[in-house]
């Protein structure tokens, strides 16, 4: 454990060091080009001292990103349009809405596929094929189409999140619902259990580990979906909109800050699903058959 921590900390330190060096080189180059264009004199000491303070750096130094994070999270009220918490909460809304509906839809389709053989042979190939399609590409279109029939705001983004998160759930649940032990199934049969009892007392129970494994994937892709949905449509708020406006106006620190918030948000969401999974598995006696 100690050694693992040591390796991770040393890698982290190495990344930070390389980051500072790269930021010095990239910003310094930019600075030198600027000064030469103006035919001004420069020496290396001057460049080194100014490289971390450039206004629009190619690669902002870690402490500058930290400053930007503090500025946009702590120093601004949460309701302000320049607060990253405000934008993160907009993205989180559509992520969670899409995630919940996507999971429910995924489970329903999986139940349909497991219980209906026609549906399986006609729908299942398309569910698999759809995984090979870059679904994110239609994100802007969904936003525009729904906008044209006066559905705006959180719902179009949630639709995209939903679309992205229901595939992993469907695939895993089809597998999970079928993973019930054959012996248990036969036991239920000898008890003369109804189809409903077999589902709730056996199949649903057997599928739970599969469900949670896929929920972790689903919530991560729901977040990606929400962020991408905010990109091309000129959304007013959200982390995607921050990324886009940062890229339009060359505000690199803003981009990096939004990225870090997005990464934190993603890992917190996955971690929360993991917590729920652990709690459930403990209730089941720590057994996991997935």
């Amino acid at each position: 454990m100690k050694q693992k921590l040591f390796s991770f900390v040393s890698l982290f330190g190495a990344v930070i060091a390389i980051w500072y060096l790269a930021s010095l080189l990239m910003n310094g180059n930019q600075l030198i080009n600027n000064l030469e264009r103006k035919n001004q004199q420069w020496d290396y000491q001057q460049i080194v001292s100014q490289a971390y303070e450039v206004k629009r750096p190619m690669l902002p130094a870690p402490h500058k990103i930290g400053e930007e994070l503090v500025k946009s999270i702590l120093d601004k009220p949460v309701t302000s349009k320049r607060s990253l918490i405000f934008h993160a909460q907009i993205t989180l809304n559509s992520t969670l809405l899409g995630f919940v509906f996507g999971s429910i839809l995924g489970i329903l389709i999986a139940v349909g596929i497991v219980y209906n053989k026609t549906l399986e042979s006609s729908l299942m190939p398309w569910v698999i094929a759809s995984q090979t399609i870059p679904i994110l590409a239609i994100a802007p279109m969904i936003v525009v189409v729904l906008g044209a029939i006066n559905i705006t705001g959180v719902i179009p983004k949630a639709v995209i999140s939903m679309y992205l998160s229901f595939f992993p759930v469907t695939i895993a649940m089809v597998k999970g619902l079928r993973s019930a032990d054959k012996l248990h199934e036969e036991l239920m049969y000898t008890y003369n259990a109804s189809a409903r009892d077999v589902f709730w007392k056996l199949r649903w129970y057997a599928a739970q580990p599969y469900l949670f494994a896929s929920l972790k994937v689903a919530i991560a892709s729901a977040l990606v979906g929400a962020i991408v949905a905010e990109l091309p449509t000129g959304a007013q708020g959200g982390l995607g909109a921050r990324l886009l406006s940062g890229s339009y106006y060359g505000q690199t620190e803003q981009i990096w800050a939004a990225l870090i918030v997005a990464a934190t948000l993603g890992s917190i969401l996955v971690w929360l699903v993991g917590l729920a999974e652990k709690a459930l598995l403990r209730r089941r006696g720590g057994l996991s058959n997935a």
């Binding site: 390796s7 690669l59 042979s121 090979t132 994110l136 802007p140 189409v145 962020i227 990464a263 969401l269």
Partner: protein, 313 residues
């Protein structure tokens, strides 16, 4: 035989619906609302036919392909009839036939987009990303420090939206395909790294002992025992990365691109309300994605014919 007659009736209903859609004026459901019954009847007939085909599936292998195709055909027919029958504006929802027409009319432009996005950005990024992930995993399998450092980082990276790095890459590498390739390299590196590492570590201890008693050289152990064991994992990553790469390239093009490319086409034609062209681009992307996935699956079948998961079928 009444059964045969029944199926003949079903097929006739479906064909009648097809003719109705093909040869009547736009908005026919608005003038004659009762025609909707024909659509419902056709959908019902199709479901009966599909059920019949499913029950006979074991007899004819070719049905396996036929069933999903018929299902998709019915979906397209329903889509076309509803959009055309209620005269829904093409800006909201083009019909499948409109999309097909846009696809055929714009082949040179779509081909140029495809070349820019797929043949340049996706292929370059995919190859560099997968290869470097594979090589670093190679290195990490014998190096505990590197493994302990990169594994948690890899798990972390799978939880975060990496596409967000696109604007930064566009700033560093310019508007052309290099920046998209860079995004793809970052997106594909970690799935490949983690899968290869897991695969290389999954070697059976018995096999290792056996190789040892054969006095196998290190390279022999790698090529004859470790690599074959890792191949299923590697192919998993390759397939996953194939769709990730296409998504990465298209999304990265939303942030700036020369005036060609699939992501550029989608974002500009959405702005100009040319929905049929947007859909046509998506069809191209879907075909490219499915074909690359299919090619990888075929290659996997060829190379892994000995693996238990393929031997049984």
């Amino acid at each position: 035989m009444p059964n045969k007659l029944k199926y003949l009736l079903y097929i006739t209903l479906i064909i009648a619906q097809l003719f109705l859609v093909l040869f009547s004026e736009q908005g026919f459901y608005q003038t004659m609302p009762l025609f909707i019954i024909l659509l419902i009847a056709a959908a019902f007939s199709m479901s009966v036919l599909l059920r019949r085909l499913t029950s006979q599936q074991s007899q004819y292998q070719s049905f396996k392909l036929l069933i999903p195709i018929l299902f998709a055909f019915m979906m397209l027919l329903t889509w076309e009839s509803i959009v055309k029958g209620y005269a829904i504006s093409a800006i909201l929802m083009p019909t499948p036939s409109n999309i097909g027409q846009a696809l055929i009319n714009n082949i040179p432009m779509l081909w140029a987009d495809f070349k820019q996005t797929y043949l340049k950005a996706v292929l370059a990024g995919y190859i560099i990303g997968c290869l470097s992930g594979f090589l670093v995993a190679q290195w990490a399998v014998n190096n505990k420090v590197l493994r302990d450092a990169l594994m948690p980082l890899g798990n972390f990276m799978s939880a975060i939206p990496i596409v967000g790095i696109a604007p930064i890459m566009v700033m560093w590498f310019g508007f052309d395909w290099e920046s998209k390739a860079a995004v793809i390299v970052i997106m594909t590196f970690f799935p490949m790294f983690i899968n290869t590492l897991t695969g290389l570590q999954s070697t059976d201890a018995l096999h290792q002992d056996l190789m040892h008693t054969y006095a196998a050289k290190k390279s022999q152990i790698f090529f004859k025992s470790q690599l074959p064991h890792a191949l299923p994992f590697i192919f998993n990553a390759l397939k996953l990365n194939a769709s990730l790469a296409l998504i990465g390239a298209i999304v990265a093009e939303f942030f700036g691109t020369p005036i060609v490319g699939m992501g550029f086409r989608i974002s500009t034609e959405v702005g100009r309300m040319n929905m049929d062209l947007v859909w046509a681009t998506i069809v191209v992307a879907a075909i490219a994605g499915s074909l690359s996935y299919g090619a990888l699956a075929l290659l996997e079948k060829r190379l892994l014919f000995w693996h238990p998961s393929y031997r049984n079928t």
